[in-house]
Symmetry: C2
Subunit: 150 residues, 2 copies
């Protein structure tokens, strides 16, 4: 398993994974060609300092898992930088292997190297399995995650 | 009340607000001179595209409230950009006025203008009052906020 930043050619595989999910199915549009919004978002991620879309690929360079990691400098906690994780997915046929854990370990180490003092994420309350996965990695459910759809 | 991006001279007032809080008191160091880490973080915020430290100031340009708003492009939800809010504080003698609400309305509008499809934040479970404040603004407590201290 290799971990690297995503390239544009990975985008269909990433969107397919995002869509292949109970909640994601209603939120994504996986089609050929992909809606332009995905490529625009990919370019925006590449253009923003400290924003990384990370994929795990197998020996044939097939995308097996993904997450987005954003480094955010802030004033709070004595000017502590934090890492934010979003959009975590493991390919359906690979769930239950340890790819998710290894991808997270890679991302956490990347955050540490970038000088982050904490890593944070929010997980939908409709995903109890994800919740316990993150707790095993050492995350603490200390906060409530609130969203306002615009 | 005027809302604007913070300048370096606002930093002591911002750190004072962050520290003047039950949880913040243990996390911040408000001293004269301020620890360098705060100025470094301020410069990092200014340098990162889409990262804004916003203050509410009164007619004498005194800082009354602050929050940090970060725009984060992402692949999920059809390439939706999101706004992340962190480090929210209202000066102690002004709490219970509507400054917090107005600052949030300003930030939400800024996120909308920047093309965000949602605004998100996490609130410590030890702050029940904050929780209901955010719900009044329309935020939904749909997620669990998880943190891993590095």
């Amino acid at each position: 398993m290799i971990f690297r930043d995503a390239i544009r050619d990975d985008l269909p595989a990433i969107v397919q994974m995002l869509a292949d999910d109970r909640l994601g199915a209603t939120r994504e549009t996986f089609a050929d060609p992909l809606p332009d919004a995905y490529a625009t978002a990919f370019d925006d991620i590449c253009d923003q300092t400290g924003n990384r879309l990370i994929v795990a690929v197998d020996e044939y360079d097939r995308v097996s898992a993904c997450l987005q990691l954003t480094f955010i400098p802030g004033i709070a906690r004595r000017g502590m930088k934090r890492g934010l994780i979003e959009g975590v997915r493991v390919r359906r046929d690979l769930r239950g292997t340890n790819i998710g854990t290894r991808l997270f370990e890679y991302a956490i180490e990347a955050a540490r190297t970038a000088g982050c003092g904490l890593v944070q994420l929010t997980t939908d309350k409709q995903r109890p399995d994800a919740h316990s996965f993150y707790e095993k990695l050492g995350f603490e459910a200390s906060h409530t995650g609130m969203k306002l759809i615009l």
